[in-house]
Every structure is written in structure tokens, then in C-alpha cells.
């Protein structure tokens, strides 16, 4: 079941009615029942991996809770700092053992489902017909999201950043919550539990705000992303040697916007649905293309994934025993550069894992290494930039911000060629075309309309992209667009509402039965 489908809207309406008909604790069970229904109809199979992930994390959480209680009792009996440290170290080792075991189970499941198709030919060579079962393995919907969410919960319980859940159904709701199960955002347990456990009464304004955000997300997906996708798909599936570099430049820039519109559109819809139930999900995007550096870009793009890797991988590695020892040794050996070594290793590891989390191909691995390298180089060179800026008398004004934005676009552009290309060979040919046969003037000819989009489509796209830009500028200035519009005169307000809805209905790219193309991040 897609979020933009008639069946989903019906499910949402039924869930919404039931949710506000019942009160108190029963509300969370309505959400759980709807979440499981949504997931099972999407999966069309028994949700074994979801239940396994939930069982593993729930059980591990309870065990950690017991260990933490024992540790507190043991610490209470300690008299001096040394004995306290010894108790802490002993319990930390016990916690780590159970955490590592749970991670192996969760990651093993993720790797099995994600890489079964790739491993099939090798497995057949090794095990012959015994490996044939791998053919039937299908990656379960949302597995990349709920396994990481479950791991985050285990770490948070171990760090005492949240209390372990004792109610298994409540925990299952946390993992299976239907607006965020397929594509995120990555939720943290503490804020979600608080919201799931509160009673929510019907609020007309909140419902309206939820619907508005859902429609805006659908607008971004159907009017912008899916229209851009037609052009991008045609260009990238054409014989590379016949397409001039300028068309590839255009297609890649449009791909950058397509990916953003598609993913942030989904997030808007998920957040809108959730808001209608009184449950606020964490923001996942903050206008990333306004970023003035790549580091800032990744603080604004897929925020919850970035903070997941930062909190649970980067900090865990840097502040682990071996990480600390290595850091101290490097500082001693190389002085000022030495302090960068461990953060650089952490960054490279984070980006390598981010790459393989996103995709199963070598292109995604290279994409991760590329960003890791860019981040590491900028970390080392940052102090030098400050010196050069001082020497060249560069002031941080509007022009400097534009230069920073352009540089960020360029770096992201280069990476996106890699992941959008059908193969590494094609990516190489495309990079080469930027240098050897750019032919920029051919963009002004009718050739541009030979890739699935008419002149009318380009005009429409220019108009809707301008609307999107205007909304983004308002948000960047700290305005909440829905509140901003609500304060405007009724005529202007309704022109905007009807404008968005009618454009969505008339110009959206629909399939049969008003269904839509799948979301791009769903396959990650």
C-alpha cells in the first residue's frame, strides 16, 4: 500500500475515526492494529523480520534494565572512587556483551535480506541447488529503517537515555508505526513513548494542519518529483555517447531536485498523517540546498539518519577504549594533525556504512567513500580556510554564502551522477561528456523536449519550482508557512489552498486507479 493511494486514504480515514472514538490507552492499540494492517498489506507476507527485530530489541532492553538496576545497587555499596569504577567497568562489559549479540542478530538479518540476491550466484556455485531458496528471498519493506531504529533503542537503553519498555505491544508500535515504518524518519524511543502514552482528543486545527502537510507532500511527489523523473530516466537510459554533456548536466540537476522532492514529499506526508493523530515525528529536512558547506548539507538532509550515525557510530567509536587510546597516541605523535586522526577514521567509517546502507552496488560504496573523503579533507583544511580568508580579505556576506552554496551543489552534483548512473562505466562516460562534449547551446534547442517532457511540462515545472522556492525561503526565515497562510485574508488563503489541490489533481503524474510510482527511498 502506497501512501498516495485511495486505499491508504480510506485506511487513514477509518483509523482517524476509530482513534478519536476510543480514549486513553486504547488509542495506541488502534494505531498498532492499523500499523500492522498497513505493513502486512504492503508486504503481502507474514511480518517475520519485523517481529524478530521487535522481539530482539524488546528482550535486550529488558535485560539491560535489569543489569542497570543491579549496577545501581552495587554502586550504592561502594565506598571509594576506585571500587565504583571497577563496578561500572564490570557492568559495562556485561551490557556490551548482550548489546553486541543483539546487534549481530539485527545486522545479520539486514545483511541477509539486503544481500541475498547478490549472493545468489556465489552461493549456487558453492552449495548448488541447496542455495535456490535465496531466489525467493525478498527484502522486507522498511527493514533498513526498523533494524537501525531497534539498534538505536538498545543503545539508548544501555546509555540510560531512555527507560526500557515493559509492554511488548507498545514497543511493537514504536517499530511498526505506519507513517514512518517504510522510509523513516528514524524515531527515538523517549519522545515517541511520551506521545503514544498520552491521550489525544480531537482537534480540528491539528487535523487541518496534518491534511495540509500531507497534500503539500503529495504535491511535491506527484507534480514535481515524478515529472522530473520522466526526464531524468529517459536521459540516463539513453545511449550515453549520443547525449551531449549539457543534457546530462541538466538531468543531474533535475535528479538532485527529484530526489529531494520525492523523499521530503514522503516525509511531509508521513508527518502530516502522524500530526493528525497528535503525534509529532522529528523533522528530517531543513532546506538542504541552502547549505553553504557539505557538512551543513548533511545536517539538513535526512537529519535523523545523520544523527543516528553520529550518535551511535561516530561517538561510540571515538569514545570507546580503543578510540581513546588511538586518539591519545596520535596526538602525542603528530601534535595538531594527530587530533584529527580518530575523527577522520570515524567519519570514513560512518560514510562507508551510510553508503552501503543506501544501496547494494559498488556505486553506493564509492558514494560513501567520496563523502567521507570530502568531509575529512574539509576537517583538516578548515583552519587553513580561515587563514586564507583573512589574507584575501574575504568577508562573510551574501556573495560568500552564494559561493558556498554553489560549491555544495557542485559536490553533491558529482556524487549524484555516481548513484543515478546505471553502471560505473556509464558514470565515467557522463563525467567525460562534461569535458569532451558539453555543447551547452544544445540546451536551447528543441532537443531538450526529446526526453519525455514537453515545453508545457518545462513551463509548469519552472512555475511549481518557483512556488517551492518561495515556500523554502519563508521557512528559512523561520516562518511556519501554514501559520503564515492562516493569518492571511481568506481570499488569498483559499486561492493558495485551491491552487495547490487543483494543480495536484490536474497535473500530478498518476498511474491506474490514481495510484502513484513508488517512492525512491523505499528501495533503500
Amino acid at each position: 500500500m502506497q501512501l498516495i493511494s485511495l486505499s491508504f486514504v480510506i485506511l487513514w480515514a477509518i483509523a482517524f475515526s476509530l482513534y478519536y472514538l476510543v480514549t486513553g490507552k486504547a488509542q495506541r492499540y488502534v494505531l498498532l492494529a492499523v500499523s500492522l494492517l498497513f505493513y502486512v498489506t504492503g508486504l503481502r507476507a507474514f511480518p517475520l523480520s519485523l517481529l524478530l527485530a521487535a522481539f530482539t530489541a524488546y528482550g535486550c532492553g529488558l535485560y539491560l534494565k535489569r543489569l542497570l538496576a543491579q549496577e545501581r545497587t552495587a554502586l550504592g555499596a561502594c565506598q571509594d572512587r576506585e571500587s565504583k569504577k571497577a563496578v561500572r567497568d564490570a557492568f559495562q562489559r556485561r551490557r556490551k556483551r548482550i548489546q553486541v549479540l543483539s546487534f549481530l542478530l539485527l545486522l545479520g538479518m539486514l545483511v541477509f535480506y539486503k544481500y541475498a540476491a547478490i549472493a545468489l550466484p556465489y552461493a549456487e556455485r558453492l552449495a548448488g541447488s541447496h542455495a535456490a531458496f535465496l531466489e525467493r528471498v525478498v527484502m522486507p519493506l522498511g527493514i533498513s529503517f526498523y533494524t537501525l531504529t531497534a539498534m538505536g533503542y538498545i543503545i539508548d537503553v544501555g546509555r540510560e537515555n531512555c527507560e526500557a519498555e515493559t509492554n511488548p505491544l507498545c514497543f511493537l508500535l514504536f517499530l511498526a508505526y505506519f507513517p514512518s515504518i517504510t522510509q523513516g524518519p528514524f524515531n527515538r524511543y523517549a519522545p515517541m513513548k511520551e506521545q503514544f502514552c498520552s491521550a489525544h482528543i480531537f482537534d480540528y486545527d491539528r487535523m487541518l494542519r496534518g491534511i495540509q502537510r500531507f497534500v503539500w507532500g503529495a504535491f511535491k511527489k506527484l507534480v514535481i518529483a515524478d515529472r522530473l523523473g520522466i526526464f531524468v530516466d529517459r536521459v540516463y537510459s539513453a545511449e550515453s555517447s549520443t547525449v551531449p554533456g549539457s543534457i546530462f548536466v541538466c538531468a543531474t540537476v533535475l535528479y538532485m531536485l527529484q530526489l529531494y522532492a520525492d523523499f521530503s514529499g514522503y516525509i511531509d506526508m508521513a508527518m502530516g498523517v502522524s500530526e493528525s493523530f497528535g503525534i509529532m515525528l522529528p523533522e528530517n529536512f531543513k532546506r538542504p540546498y541552502f547549505a553553504k558547506s557539505v557538512a551543513e548539507f548533511w545536517r539538513r538532509w535526512h537529519i535523523t539518519l545523520g544523527t543516528w550515525f553520529k550518535d551511535y557510530v561516530m561517538f561510540s567509536f571515538v569514545m570507546s577504549g580503543p578510540g581513546r587510546r588511538l586518539g591519545k597516541a596520535c596526538k602525542k605523535r603528530w601534535s595538531s594533525f594527530g587530533k584529527h586522526v580518530v575523527p577522520i577514521l570515524g567519519t570514513l567509517a560512518v560514510w562507508f556504512f551510510t553508503g552501503i546502507w543506501h544501496g547494494r552496488t559498488a556505486a553506493y560504496m564509492l558514494w560513501g567513500i567520496y563523502y567521507g573523503a570530502v568531509m575529512s579533507v574539509s576537517l583538516v583544511l578548515e583552519p587553513r580556510y580561515a587563514v586564507w580568508k583573512e589574507k584575501l580579505h574575504i568577508r562573510e556576506g551574501r556573495l560568500w554564502s552564494l559561493v558556498g552554496m554553489a560549491r555544495t551543489w557542485l559536490i553533491v552534483f558529482a556524487a549524484d551522477v555516481l548513484i543515478r548512473s546505471e553502471s560505473l562505466r556509464q558514470a565515467g562516460e557522463i563525467y567525460l561528456s562534461f569535458v569532451t562534449r558539453l555543447h551547452p547551446l544544445r540546451l536551447l534547442t528543441s532537443e531538450i523536449t526529446a526526453y519525455g517532457l514537453s515545453r508545457y511540462d518545462f513551463i509548469l515545472l519552472a512555475a511549481v519550482l518557483l512556488v517551492w522556492l518561495a515556500v523554502s525561503v519563508l521557512e528559512e526565515r523561520g516562518e511556519d508557512v501554514r501559520t503564515y497562510l492562516a493569518a492571511k485574508p481568506a481570499l488569498l488563503r483559499w486561492v493558495c489552498y485551491y491552487g495547490v489541490v487543483l494543480t495536484l489533481l490536474i497535473t500530478g503524474i498518476y498511474g491506474g486507479g490514481y495510484d502513484t510510482a513508488v517512492f525512491m527511498y523505499q528501495s533503500f
Binding site: R159, E296, D311, S316, V318, M319, S320
Partner: protein
């Protein structure tokens, strides 16, 4: 103790000294690399161990929160 913490912050992120909000990490005032370096220097200076569980936005929301964290760890 406070002066020493402020001196470490000044060395790595002068902006943190004048920041008067309560979400320094989310606002991009202090990035993860700076946090790592600040943590390293605080550990060396005060002979404490700042575990990853303390490196959360709440404990790094502003300079006062960082001082409070160091105080708490010194008392433990």
C-alpha cells in the same frame, strides 16, 4: 573550573561563548568534530572520562550545560 572549560571552548569554538540559545548542536554552532575535540581536552584537563552516553544534545546545548556536565562528572 568554569574558566578552564570556557578556555577550552574558546580554543575550539569561540562562537559557543556568545551563543545564548539552547540547542548549540542543532543550530550548527558546534559540530561533531568540535564536540570530539572539546571532549578530549576536557578529559585531559579534569582527568575525567566522558562516556558517549553523555555526548547528547542536552549536555551540549550551551556553555552552561557543558560546565554542569563537567561538574557532575567531577562529583561522581
Amino acid at each position: 573550573m568554569e574558566e578552564k572549560v570556557l578556555a577550552i571552548l574558546k580554543e575550539h569554538c569561540e562562537e559557543a561563548l556568545t551563543y545564548d540559545g539552547d540547542s548549540m548542536m542543532e543550530d550548527g554552532v558546534i559540530d561533531s568534530f568540535t564536540v570530539i575535540n572539546v571532549v578530549g581536552d576536557l578529559e585531559d584537563e579534569f582527568d575525567i572520562e566522558i562516556d558517549a552516553k553523555y555526548v547528547v544534545a542536552e549536555n551540549f546545548k550551551n556553555k552552561e550545560a557543558i560546565i554542569a556536565l563537567v561538574k557532575r562528572l567531577l562529583e561522581e
